[in-house]
């Protein structure tokens, strides 16, 4: 008999705000977190917009010494983990111990540090390398620093599965608890890759929107005028606990992770296969894992990147999986507001699913002015909508043909 796994705390830093509350308020108001790119001089770049954090004060979470030696992706993870633990009532050392673990996924890790230190070695030679280079670059060091800070001595890992990293992290963490390897997991995704190399690299792939003059309108999933995704940064972390432990603690239970699916396209490094059959199998796998019929899902937080291919293919895949039920489904892309947080997407979007259930509010897809004829679902256009929902599915698909789908459910004993 597998343990049921519940969410007892959530923390986030996103382009819409430096907490879950502030971010969710932005989502419900249909606000865009996209603006001019400020993290580096992007004059020569084709894309000059991004979803950056705003007024984030790292010194609230790390001291000056740590600020110098840690890459931003590690600092964002420490911030979101601290808020998530506090939200779960585990702030004062109660997260410590051998039964608590950490899996925080990241697609790219410390890319900004790689770029900075490459310049140092180029200009000054190998002796100019900082001793903190390697530990700031390794993608698993977000998990590493969170475990050190909060004394979590159980299982530790880091999923590096492109834009599915955060969802894989949560899915893997759920399985560790379900199978009895841990009682509590700090899990989610983080990314801080608004850097020259990343922006130029995605531009070379023709993957990013170039709507530089209207940043807040650039991310427009399912719209006929969409022209690519908008890169974002941030972190979303949830505290997962075995149900008996959460009940023993008498803590507030936000909801349950009911199912997780993970499949591979085995098709192409970046493009989805015809009919997005890998995504179809992944959504079906998550439903099976949850012991649910397709008709049991009320809301889908779509991968919805705003790229021409994804949005059409994902729509088709949803129709394949949900058949007749599709027209009763609400589907939206919160990336229209946050941009695409790459490895952090699965983290924040799981939180959005949880908040949608909790508050009875469906997040909108903003900028959906002229729906693409191939995209004909109820995408909750423009404005958030009230709806009593019990179950939500979060889709994430990544380069390398990774698909990861989570199902979040209202908690009922």
């Amino acid at each position: 008999m597998k343990n049921r796994v519940v969410i007892t705390g959530m923390g986030a830093v996103t382009p819409l705000g430096n907490s879950v509350a502030e971010t969710w308020e932005g989502i419900c108001r249909g606000k865009s977190g996209i603006g001019r790119l400020t993290k580096f001089d992007c004059t020569a770049h084709e894309t000059r917009i991004a979803g950056e954090l705003k007024d984030f004060d790292p010194l609230r979470f790390v001291n000056k010494k740590e600020l110098r030696r840690l890459d931003d992706f590690i600092i964002y993870a420490l911030a979101a983990a601290e808020m998530a633990l506090a939200d779960a009532g585990l702030a004062s050392g109660a997260a410590e111990g051998e039964r608590t673990g950490v899996i925080i996924g990241s697609a790219i890790g410390g890319l900004a540090t790689i770029e900075k230190e490459k310049e140092a070695i180029f200009l000054g030679g190998p002796r100019k390398m900082s001793a903190f280079t390697i530990p700031a670059v390794l993608a698993n060091l977000a998990s590493g620093h969170v475990s050190i800070r909060f004394g979590a001595k159980g299982p530790i890992g880091c999923s590096v599965t492109a834009c599915s990293s955060g969802a894989c992290a949560i899915g893997d963490a759920v399985r560790l608890i379900a199978e009895g390897h841990a009682d509590c997991m700090i899990a989610g995704g983080v990314e801080a890759a608004v850097t020259p190399l990343c922006v130029a690299g995605f531009n070379a792939m023709r993957a990013l929107s170039k709507r530089n003059e209207e940043p807040e309108k650039a991310s427009r999933p399912f719209d006929r005028d969409r022209d690519g995704f908008v890169i974002g940064e941030g972190c979303g972390i949830v505290i997962l606990e075995a149900l008996p432990r959460a009940l023993d603690r008498g803590t507030r239970i936000c909801g349950e992770i009911a199912g997780y699916g993970n499949t591979s396209d085995a098709f192409h490094m970046a493009a989805p296969p015809p009919g997005h059959e890998g995504a179809v199998r992944c959504m079906q796998a998550a439903l099976r894992d949850a012991g649910m019929e397709a008709a049991g899902i009320d809301y889908i937080n779509a991968h919805g990147t705003s790229t021409p291919l994804n949005d059409a293919y994902e729509t088709e895949a949803i129709k394949t999986v949900f058949g007749e039920h599709t027209r009763r489904l609400a589907v939206s892309s919160t990336k229209s507001m946050t941009g695409h947080l790459l490895g952090a997407a699965g983290g924040i979007e799981t939180i959005f699913c949880m908040k949608a259930i909790d508050t009875g509010m469906l997040p909108p897809t903003i900028n959906l002015d002229h729906p693409d004829p191939t995209c004909d679902l109820d995408y909750v256009p423009h404005q958030a909508r009230k709806a009593a929902i019990r179950t939500a599915m979060s889709n994430t698909f990544g380069f390398g043909g990774v698909n990861a789908v989570l199902i979040v459910k209202k908690f009922e004993e």
Partner: protein
């Protein structure tokens, strides 16, 4: 600013410690909370600032702030600013 003052200002910045903590006898690891990587970084900063090279075997002998003063003086380092 004297050589000693310059050394201490670098230590304060690198290790995020106060002027009061930076007594000559203070040990980087035992008193100032540094780890071995901090020490490497600190020495790199000294090399850069004072234009000296510190070999790994000399690095091992540097444990306190006073050791840095003495090392730099033995190299005839002067500082005026």
């Amino acid at each position: 600013m004297t050589l000693e003052e310059k050394v201490i200002s670098i230590i304060m910045e690198q290790l995020d410690v106060t002027r009061e903590e930076c007594v000559a006898e203070a040990s980087f690891i035992d008193d100032l909370g540094a780890d071995s990587l901090d020490l490497v970084e600190l020495i790199m900063e000294m090399e850069e600032t004072f234009d000296v090279q510190i070999a790994d075997n000399e690095l091992e002998k540097i444990r306190t702030i006073k050791d840095v003063f003495e090392f730099l003086k033995s190299r005839g380092t002067v500082w005026q600013e």
